[in-house]
């Protein structure tokens, strides 16, 4: 039994598939790129079907149109609860895109893909985009106050405040990355190290908790924190 782990190799790494040349460096197309392209194609197909159905909309919605209207109303209520009327008008599209992308990337483990958010490159880029949005609002609504607020309450607090702003990037990206990577590692270990007869039915519970529940909560927390930070900068 002790040799079991040494015989089989667990493989949850990212594989590099196609090399190409970028200004003299060799960079690769990896499994993350492929999985993310599949998910984006799925979202685009869904959006095109929804657009076609809405263009020929019925007064009393049924079926697919009903589901799409439910999703849009839930999203608008969610953003309105945190950001108020003006914020909703500006940001409901961005928040809707981010939450849909992160949620579908997180649960793509159910389809057999390796979740793209289990790659630190993806989550870092998402967090950097969110922080650029936050700092843009900071400068737009506070003008010079965005810089002088780094010196409050005492002049010596400047490094601590700068680290506090930078830590938004680190914490947003690492939280999403760590949760999804932990789920991926545990499910891969389960599938590769145990005999066949415990692999029918029982992994559904593991997937339900680690992939679906955890993924949904992380998508919710990412967008909620982005909205709260933006609202703080607008009102600050």
């Amino acid at each position: 039994m002790a040799i079991l782990a040494a015989e089989k190799t667990v493989d949850f790494f990212i594989h590099e598939l196609i090399p190409y040349n970028f200004f003299g460096q060799t960079v690769y197309i990896t499994t993350t790129h492929v999985c993310e392209l599949i998910i984006i194609l799925g979202i685009i197909v869904f959006a095109l079907i929804a657009r076609h159905k809405i263009m020929h909309a019925e007064e009393v919605p049924r079926g697919f149109q009903n589901v799409v209207e439910l999703l849009v109303e839930t999203l608008q209520k969610y953003v309105y609860g945190s950001m108020g009327k003006h914020g909703t008008k500006c940001y409901v599209n961005y928040i809707g895109t981010i939450i849909l992308l992160i949620f579908l990337c997180n649960i793509s483990g159910l389809i057999g893909l390796r979740p793209p958010t289990a790659d630190y490159g993806t989550t870092l880029c998402l967090a950097v985009i969110s922080v650029i949005m936050i700092q843009y609002n900071n400068i737009k609504w506070n003008k010079w106050g965005a810089f002088t607020s780094l010196f409050e309450p005492v002049f010596l607090f400047f490094p601590i405040n700068v680290i506090g702003e930078v830590s938004s990037v680190v914490s947003l990206s690492l939280r999403l990355f760590g949760n999804i990577l932990a789920g991926t590692v545990m499910i891969t270990l389960y599938y590769s190290l145990l005999p066949v007869f415990v692999k029918i039915g029982i992994p559904a519970a593991l997937h339900a908790y680690l992939d679906v529940f955890s993924g949904a909560i992380q998508a919710y927390v990412f967008t909620m924190l982005t909205m709260v930070f933006i609202t703080n900068k607008i009102e600050g």
Binding site: F13, L174, G178, A182, Q218, V221
Partner: protein
Amino acid sequence: MNQITNEGLILACSAIGAGIAMIAGLGPGIGQGIAAGQGAAAVGRNPGAKGDIMSTMLLGQAVAETTGLYSLVIALLLFYANPLLSRFLKL
């Protein structure tokens, strides 16, 4: 007895370090348990606000879990993408 190579020593100490790093899983466990208890007490006092209380509690728990995840990332890094070993091999 075989000689312990330098590489083996680095890998062994990384394994011990990864194990010690996961002791940091204690903090979020206690904190999130206390938060869940307060959430349950709040629902008991005000059963009508159950949806709002649950959303707030889940948000707070996910933020509190972050430091536990930092230690998990360090442990996985030491196992599978060991920076000390690659720095040693370049020397």
